[in-house]
């Protein structure tokens, strides 16, 4: 990094302010988007200049291949039109199939090239290391080399985003972008490059290219969102990170009680960090008149793990659903397997009918979550994280009739408040178990932690161990208050899912808004974790 321009730095705020001024004062309305492009390139040049050629390669390859796919489509349609009277139905069908394969091959080229770069940079050392371990365990003297690789800033996010665009062009959901500079803006838009959200071309692109005039309400809402993001990130997440880092640095030294507490703290940190960062991103975009997808919907209020993943990192979930889950679940292999099962003796039973029906969905879920796990990082612990989440979802789909019958036999009213709370807590525990693999330095440590939950609880040591985590008693109070505020706001949002807190605030007296914003600004300045006494914590999702 040439200089510190992370989202929570003063430099970033000045940068946004300067971009705002230029954008809103730019005389040529039609070309306002070039200001955003220049700002995005500047941001990337400052934050990740050493690897800028990766994002340029992805943009260029995406641009050319999208045009190529489009040309194949257009040429084929023109040919079909010209041969309309000459070709019979079978000839047309054969030609269409040939074109489909051709387009798919070209699309695959883009996917292989770009996911190939991502996979190589992110996973080469992981696979080389794993291969060495496996061969070593068989006594084979072979050593695959490991390389000194660095991940370009935002590579996961911009690769997923640009490949989503390629698939959309392939599916003819969206026309290809003819202007490479505009595509570069879509790929590199600075508020989203660090940690998403992963936007869909149709949803974002037109907003980027349209000229937006200054709008006071949008700016106010954007600023409020940025402030809320700052509160979450530097008061809560970065404070919790101090304790979590202390534990992960010496993982074996803590009792199961402390580790349980740390996993809970991690749930708070991860949510505050990721959603705080996204709030900052969305707030900045909103100032420029751009609505980015909301990546979170109170995930810890989910009543099932399936729902949790629809509320957590929504843009990744949507991407995976569109571009991975459906293609797998709807693939011939799974549909055929499902049909075949239905025709077996087991398939004729009630259970068999259910299993045959949900088999494609459940297996696709497992595969998708395996990908989610691997996407999070090149480590077996992330594989375990993916399998745990995918496995739970698969089982919950497969065993749904069993759960239904238990609920019926126990005469539980699903709509009751108590059952709702039970579902939320149950889901939260499942999520926490998944987080264990996130927090633990390795898969083995994760397994030991889970064992420790049951065998190594030591409440007597807990207080003493908490004192060693780099936080003072008052920091824990701040975290508790922070968690309570998040919970309280979450409850309000759950009750009013279609209105944002900012819109609600608009209807309150000016004095109340004034006090809240004033307190927010002062709280960030006083209780924030920043300055040379601390190592500023990177956004957790930046590493993914």
């Amino acid at each position: 990094m040439l200089f510190n321009i992370t989202y929570t730095s003063l430099n970033f705020l000045f940068f946004v302010l300067a971009t705002m001024l230029v954008y809103f004062l730019f005389p040529a309305k039609k070309y306002k988007w070039t200001v955003l492009l220049a700002a995005s390139l500047f941001f990337y040049a400052v934050a990740g200049y050493r690897f800028a050629y990766f994002i340029l390669f992805t943009t260029l390859s995406t641009y050319l291949i999208a045009l190529w796919i489009d040309r194949i489509s257009k040429n084929s349609k023109a040919l079909l039109k010209s041969k309309k009277s000459e070709w019979d139905k079978n000839q047309k069908k054969a030609y269409k199939n040939r074109i489909k394969i051709q387009k798919r091959l070209v699309m695959t080229l883009a996917l292989v090239l770009n996911f190939g770069i991502l996979a190589f940079l992110k996973y080469f050392n992981f696979f080389a290391g794993s291969l060495n371990d496996i061969l070593g365990s068989f006594g084979m003297d072979f050593s695959a080399p490991t390389l000194n690789l660095f991940l370009p800033l935002g590579i996961s996010f911009y690769t997923f985003q640009s490949m989503g665009y390629i698939v959309d062009v392939y599916r003819e959901k969206t026309p290809p972008q003819k202007n490479p500079a505009k595509l570069l803006l879509f790929v590199s838009f600075f508020p989203q490059i660090v940690q998403g959200p992963i936007s869909i071309y149709d949803q974002l692109a037109h907003q980027l290219f349209e000229p937006h005039d200054f709008d006071f309400t949008r700016m106010k809402h954007g600023m409020e969102l940025i402030l809320w993001g700052f509160c979450k990130k530097i008061i809560i997440a970065d404070r919790a990170a101090i304790a979590i880092q202390a534990v992960t640095a010496d993982y074996g030294a803590y009792s199961g009680t402390t580790l349980t507490f740390i996993v809970l703290l991690y749930a708070l940190q991860l949510y505050a960090d990721f959603s705080g960062g996204i709030d900052i991103s969305r707030g900045v975009a909103q100032i420029f008149g751009i609505d980015m997808i909301d990546n979170f919907k109170r995930p810890y209020f989910s009543k099932s793990i399936n729902e949790y993943w629809r509320r957590w990192h929504i843009s990744l979930g949507a991407w995976l659903k569109n571009y991975l889950f459906y293609p797998i679940a709807m693939s011939n292999v799974f549909l055929t397997a499902s049909k075949k099962m239905k025709n077996t003796r087991f398939g004729k039973t009630a259970a068999g009918t259910h299993v045959a029906k949900v088999l494609p969905t459940s297996v696709a879920s497992l595969i998708v979550f395996l990908v989610v796990g691997i996407w999070h990082g090149a480590d077996w612990k992330y594989v375990a994280f993916g399998i745990w989440n995918g496995g739970i979802i698969m089982l919950s789909i497969l065993l749904q009739p069993v759960f239904d019958s238990i609920v019926a036999k126990l005469h539980i009213r699903r709509e009751s408040f108590g059952y709702g709370v039970f579902q939320i807590l149950r889901t939260f525990v499942v999520v926490l178990v998944g987080y264990v693999f996130d927090v633990a330095p390795s898969f083995a440590d994760g397994m030991n932690t889970i064992t420790g939950f049951f065998t190594n609880q030591n409440f007597a040591l807990f207080g003493e161990e908490c004192d060693k985590l780099g936080l003072l008693e008052k920091d824990y109070v701040v975290l508790a208050i922070g968690a309570a505020i998040l919970f309280f706001i979450g409850v309000i949002q759950e009750r009013n899912p279609h209105t944002t807190i900012r819109e609600m605030l608009d209807d309150t007296p000016f004095a109340l808004r004034f006090i809240l914003i004033y307190l927010g600004l002062v709280a960030v300045a006083v209780f924030g974790i920043y300055g040379s006494g601390y190592n500023a914590a990177d956004f957790v999702y930046m590493q993914f």
Binding site: F216, K474, F510, L521, A525, V526, S532, G533
Partner: protein, 378 residues
């Protein structure tokens, strides 16, 4: 947009920003700040009117523990003040010197050379030693120049906005509010009656062998650290350029084997200072003439206690008066009132410290309202 909407929004935003800026400024000045004796001393210094001070002393902790401006005023009539902070660095010395020139133009400047006598430059790199001075100097040309020259680019913002550095001090609330109240009260009532003095109520019993008898006859020299020597010569050149009336004063220390080489470096420093035509008053070696009894007059190896302070102030005051001809000068009514009260306050402090020492109560005495109230009955 309608004009009144625009005006109303502008007013609201301005109010909000003003409220936040004022709050943060207040917090940065009175709450989330190192509210210690270094701050009070410099606050008190900047309260002195231009031309009010006859003598200014510049240096590290030896200066404000070994010399009492109040006592010197009472006995000799000249006004003085220690511009000093804990373990002051050489860059800090230069900054403080520039500030003294900017604010006072004293008739005599006494410089304690401790910052130049270390055998390496570790002290220079300790941020706290820099900040104990710089944080308490108001923003101006000298401070900006210092920050640009001496502070890492990454840290410069923290010097302009100390809240970035010290916001974490909220952990000390509410206990620190006592110091906040004291700082505000001192400013409002202009109660800097100890004139930057600080001490401990203790008679030090050293565990090491004390070599003070030996240093009296020690004439050997030892080379100064190259970097520190360069800095010292820069300061000397600057004094020459500014045509300042300067004398170097080495304050007394309890010397033991680990610090013996420092005595030789002090001898070397004396030669350098004299090359520039300035006096080097080596009170470290003249401790007997000053009447210092190292068995009674220190509270640790490097600092005199209240008994030592009185003896040293009397001795140095005499030199200032007799050798440099600094005499009582006419003060305005309020100035005289303030200095008279300062002299009385020091008397009370002396009696208080004497009682505490005799009772065996060890206590740090800092210049604040709590101390002033504690010594009031004495």
């Amino acid at each position: 947009m309608k004009k009144h909407t625009f005006l109303s929004r502008t007013a609201k935003i301005t109010c909000l920003l003003l409220a936040v800026i004022l709050t943060l400024t207040f917090l940065q000045t009175y709450v989330l700040r190192k509210l210690d004796h270094n701050m009070t001393r410099l606050d008190g210094y900047y309260r002195q009117e231009q031309g009010e001070l006859d003598v200014v002393l510049l240096g590290a902790s030896e200066v404000y523990t070994g010399f009492s401006a109040c006592r010197a005023y009472e006995k000799y009539g000249f006004t003085s003040y220690p511009v000093a902070s804990e373990s002051l660095t050489t860059d800090g010395m230069m900054l403080a010197l520039k500030e003294i020139i900017r604010t006072q133009k004293p008739k005599l400047l006494l410089i304690e050379p401790n910052a130049y006598l270390y055998n390496e430059t570790k002290n220079e790199k300790i941020e706290a030693h820099t900040r104990k001075l710089v944080d308490n100097i108001p923003l101006g040309e000298n401070k900006i120049d210092f920050i640009n020259r001496c502070v890492d680019k990454d840290l410069q913002m923290e010097y302009y906005f100390p809240l970035i550095k010290y916001h974490d001090l909220w952990h000390e609330l509410p206990n620190s509010l006592r110091r906040t109240a004291s700082a505000i009260e001192m400013q409002l009532t202009d109660s800097y009656y100890l004139r930057g003095f600080r001490t401990n109520t203790e008679v030090f019993k050293p565990s090491d062998k004390v070599l003070n008898d030996k240093i009296i006859i020690e004439n050997r020299t030892a080379k100064l650290n190259k970097t520190l020597e360069k800095k010292m010569k820069e300061l000397l050149r600057f004094c020459k350029e500014q045509e300042l009336r300067v004398a170097f004063v080495r304050m007394p220390h309890m010397v033991y084997p680990a610090t013996y080489e420092r005595v030789k470096r002090s001898n070397e420093a004396a030669e350098i200072v004299q090359e520039y035509g300035y006096d080097y008053i080596n009170l470290e070696r003249e401790w007997r003439q000053a009447g210092i009894d190292y068995k009674k007059d220190f509270y640790n190896y490097d600092h005199l206690n209240i008994y030592g302070t009185v003896k040293l102030t009397d001795y140095l005051g005499e030199i200032v008066q007799n050798k440099y001809g600094i005499k009582r000068h006419a003060l305005s009514g309020p100035q005289k009132e303030s200095w008279d009260k300062a002299a009385k306050t020091f008397g009370k402090l002396y009696r208080y410290c004497d009682e505490q020492i005799k009772k065996g109560h060890t206590e740090s005495i800092n210049e604040d309202m709590m101390t002033l109230r504690r010594i009031e009955p004495y």
